[in-house]
Structure formats: C-alpha cells, structure tokens
C-alpha cells in the first residue's frame, strides 16, 4: 500500500492541479483502487487543511468540494499586484451620459425618446453614485420626472473648468468614417451586433 506521506503529496497535487473543487468522494474512489481506506483520506484532507492554514493559500470546503484559495489577509495584496483592467463603459451608459451632458437639463423620458430604448435604472444609479450627474429638480408634468444635469464633480474629474471646454459638436461633424472609427464608435456598433459582448456590457452596468 501507498505510504501516508505519499498519499498526502498526491492529494495535494490533485487539489492544486484541478481547475474545479474536488469532492472527497472523488479522491476516495481514486484511491480505493490502491486499497487506501477512506477514513485515511478524510484524515489526510484535514491535515492538509491544518498544514496550509498559516500559509498564503488555504484549503477551503465549498459547495462542490475542496479547493485552495488565497488566504483572506492576502486578498488585498493579490488584488494590488494584478494590474487593473481598464473599466469599460457600456454603450448605453455613454449614450445616456452624452445626452445628459449636451442636452441638460433633461428627464429620463427625454433620454429614452432620443435613444429609442428605455434607460436602465442601473445606469442612472451608476452616474448618480459617481456624482457625475445629479437631480436638478422635478418636472411639473404627470409623474413628476427627475430632471438631470451634470455636476461640478463631472467637470473636475475630467479636468474641465466648464462645459464649454467639452469637445464641440461642430468640431466633430466633419469627422471622417476613419476618425470616427478611431474614436471607437464603430467599434461599439460592431459590438452591438454581438450579443455576448452586449451581455458583457450589461454585466458592467450592474457592477458600476
């Protein structure tokens, strides 16, 4: 029969080389061929749990089995180590923001009228949380819709002194297709053809 130490090494190597959590049963089944008693497996797993409890990675039991994960007090360091992915704003968010910037004060209904689709509450929430937009007041029509406008924070965070410093519409009317392409607009158009990308956008909206 295999030595206990060897079994421990093997179980460690299985846990570390698996992309999914491993069930105790899978390990027991695997070693049953080698006539390793199943209570020994359980004992070894508990030992590994203790062995790694003070290390940078810990063995954790999750719903689908055991897996190693980064120890709690190292998470912030690992997060810091990996370069952040640049945040990508969804097309829907950019369009909503563009309308608020250039046509403020504006209500949600007016944004929707231009975009032709409803504006998700998450987008408004994101922009409000970011303090890029604020509610200026409520329009005196049925439903008393909120009127949105941009904030000083929006100008500050984009290094603008006033909205007048924003790129002017006239400057871009003459843009060639190529230039528009460089700005990423056509890229967005392409994305919208691709459902999976859209889904990603949607996910982002929820996160922001």
């Amino acid at each position: 029969m295999l030595e206990k130490n060897k079994i421990k090494k093997i179980i460690e190597s299985l846990l570390f080389s698996s992309s999914y959590p491993i069930k105790v049963k899978e390990i027991k089944d695997f070693f049953s061929e080698e006539k390793v008693p199943s209570n020994l497996i359980q004992e070894i797993i508990s030992e590994i749990e203790i062995d790694y409890s003070k290390s940078g990675v810990n063995l954790r039991k999750v719903s689908s089995g055991y897996r190693f994960q980064v120890s709690e007090d190292c998470n912030e360091w690992v997060t810091k180590f990996y370069p952040e992915k640049p945040q990508k704003y969804s097309r829907a968010l950019m369009e909503t923001l563009a309308l608020i910037v250039y046509k403020q004060p504006i209500t949600r209904t007016e944004i929707e009228a231009v975009r032709g689709v409803s504006v998700s509450s998450n987008i408004i929430k994101t922009l409000l949380e970011r303090e890029w937009i604020k509610i200026l007041g409520y329009k005196d029509v049925p439903g008393k819709p909120a009127i949105f406008g941009t904030t000083k924070e929006f100008l500050d965070s984009h290094n603008l002194l006033s909205l007048n410093q924003l790129p002017k519409l006239d400057d871009i009317v003459e843009l060639s297709d190529q230039e528009i392409h460089q700005l990423g607009l056509l890229e967005d158009k392409k994305n919208s053809d691709n459902q999976s990308n859209d889904q990603e956008d949607f996910k982002n909206e929820n996160i922001h």
């Binding site: 190292c74 997060t79 369009e95 231009v114």
Partner: protein
C-alpha cells in the same frame, strides 16, 4: 490493421482485401514493395512528403543514403505514388515533382561520365542526398522534441488559485470625452433631432446656463429675473441667459411670474 475503428474498416478486415480501388478489392501489391501487407493505406497516408517516403524506402531496405541506389528507389517510389493515386489519396504535387527529379537523376547516371576541369565527378545524386540528410536531421530532431517533457502531458502546473478582489477607494475612470461627443452626434443624427447645420457655438452655454438656473432655483423659492442676467457676461452672456430662461419655460421646468406690468419678473420652480 485498422487505424480508425469504424464499421466499414472492420468489414474490410473480414473480407480480407487490403483496399478498394475504383470499387474493386485490391489484393495484389507489387512483390518488391516493402510494405507490411496489412498496412497499405495507413502507410501511404503516414508519409510527411516525398522526402519522408524516400527516406523510408532507403531505410527499410538497409540502403546507405550516400549510396542512394537511384534505379531501385525510383522504381519503388513510382509504384508507391501509383498506389496512392489509385487509392485516391490526396497526392501533393511535391510527390510528382520528386518522381520527375528521380527520373532525371536516373537518366543522368546512364550517360557517360564527363569529368570537369577539377577532375571531380559531378554526382547527379549529390543534391538529393544532401536534402535527404538534412530532412533526416530535422525529422530526428522533431522526435527528440516530442520526447521532451511537456506541460500537461508529462508534468502539470498548479492551476490559478482564486482570490477575492478587494475593492479599493479608487477614483472612477473617466469617460473619453471625444467619444462622448461623437456618440451624442450620432444619437442626434439618428433621431433627426438636430440637423448638423443647427449646431451652434452657444449650444452648451445655454444648456449649462439652464442647469445653473435650475441650481439657483433649488435654494431659493423665487429669484429675480435680473439676478440671472449678469451684465458682466456681456451681450452674448445676456442672450444666453435669456435663451436659457425661455427654454426652461418651454420645457415646463420653471414659471415666470410678474405682479404688475412694470414690477420685477420672478422665476420659480414649477
């Protein structure tokens, strides 16, 4: 011998014939073809090219590459490619080119040897031998490479271990303003809300003023119309403010009230 375990092949095994050529069972193979009799198709499919096939013919009959018995090898080579053609195996043009090369060498060897000035014989096989040797080197090298320990076959890496992303108090990433204006323009074009020639320099100023006025109104119930009109902003500034007020009235966001004909005009949120 079967490489692919499908029913068709199994049947072939039972019926003995090696292969079917033009629908007919193929039973006879050339007698001097060095070929395991049950591996015809597999063998023919397994060559990596004419050099590989030549190398096989030479090696399997214990010939020395340097001696290259062109006549014998050419004959066998041609038998092989004939078989390949009959079996309708996809035959690369390179095989035909090699056949032609072999035939050329063979005919040159039949001609009387002409010694050149240096007195050295110019062996017509030299170039082919050089190519065979070079190919053999790399073929061997590829086997060596394949026998190296390789990740996920002979050894394994630990899989990336998950961690919890700790949200930092980061600053939000800004939007690309250029992109913003393009998006806006496109939206406008889409809705024909604004034709391009309607775009005015004052556009933003009026909008910004509208927001400013709305902000002023938030704190006070009534604002004197004159407070909004700031004379230090000059003529265009006055026009902008005035347009902003008119626009806000039009949008039903504010009310304009006046007690008498000549009293002050006050503005309040609607």
């Amino acid at each position: 011998m079967d490489i692919k375990p499908d029913a068709h092949k199994d049947q072939k095994k039972i019926n003995v014939p090696l292969a079917y050529v033009k629908g007919q069972p193929y039973l006879n193979i050339p007698k001097d073809l060095y070929l395991p009799p049950d591996a015809l198709e597999v063998v023919l499919e397994s060559f990596e090219g004419p050099l590989d096939l030549l190398l096989y013919l030479i090696k399997s009959q214990n010939f020395d590459i340097l001696e290259l018995p062109v006549a014998k090898i050419t004959e066998q080579y041609i038998q092989y490619i004939d078989l390949m053609k009959e079996l309708k195996l996809e035959l690369a043009a390179e095989y035909m080119l090699m056949a032609a090369t072999l035939a050329e060498i063979k005919s040159k060897l039949l001609l009387p040897v002409i010694e050149d000035d240096s007195g050295e014989e110019d062996d017509p096989r030299a170039e082919l031998i050089r190519r065979l040797q070079e190919y053999e080197r790399y073929k061997k090298a590829s086997l060596n490479l394949d026998s190296l320990k390789r990740v996920d076959r002979d050894f394994y890496l630990t899989k990336k271990i998950s961690y919890e992303v700790i949200k930092k108090d980061e600053e939000y990433q800004n939007v690309d303003l250029e992109k913003l204006v393009v998006i806006f323009h496109k939206l406008m074009q889409q809705t024909k809300f604004l034709s391009p020639h309607d775009v005015k320099k004052e556009f933003l100023s009026v909008r910004e003023k509208m927001t400013l006025i709305m902000n002023m109104l938030k704190s006070d119930d009534y604002i004197d119309f004159k407070e909004i009109l700031k004379f230090e902003e000059g003529k265009s500034g006055l026009i902008v403010s005035f347009l902003a007020i008119l626009e806000l009235i039009k949008l039903a966001m504010i009310d304009c009230v006046q007690a008498n004909y000549d009293s002050s005009i006050f503005i309040k949120l609607k």
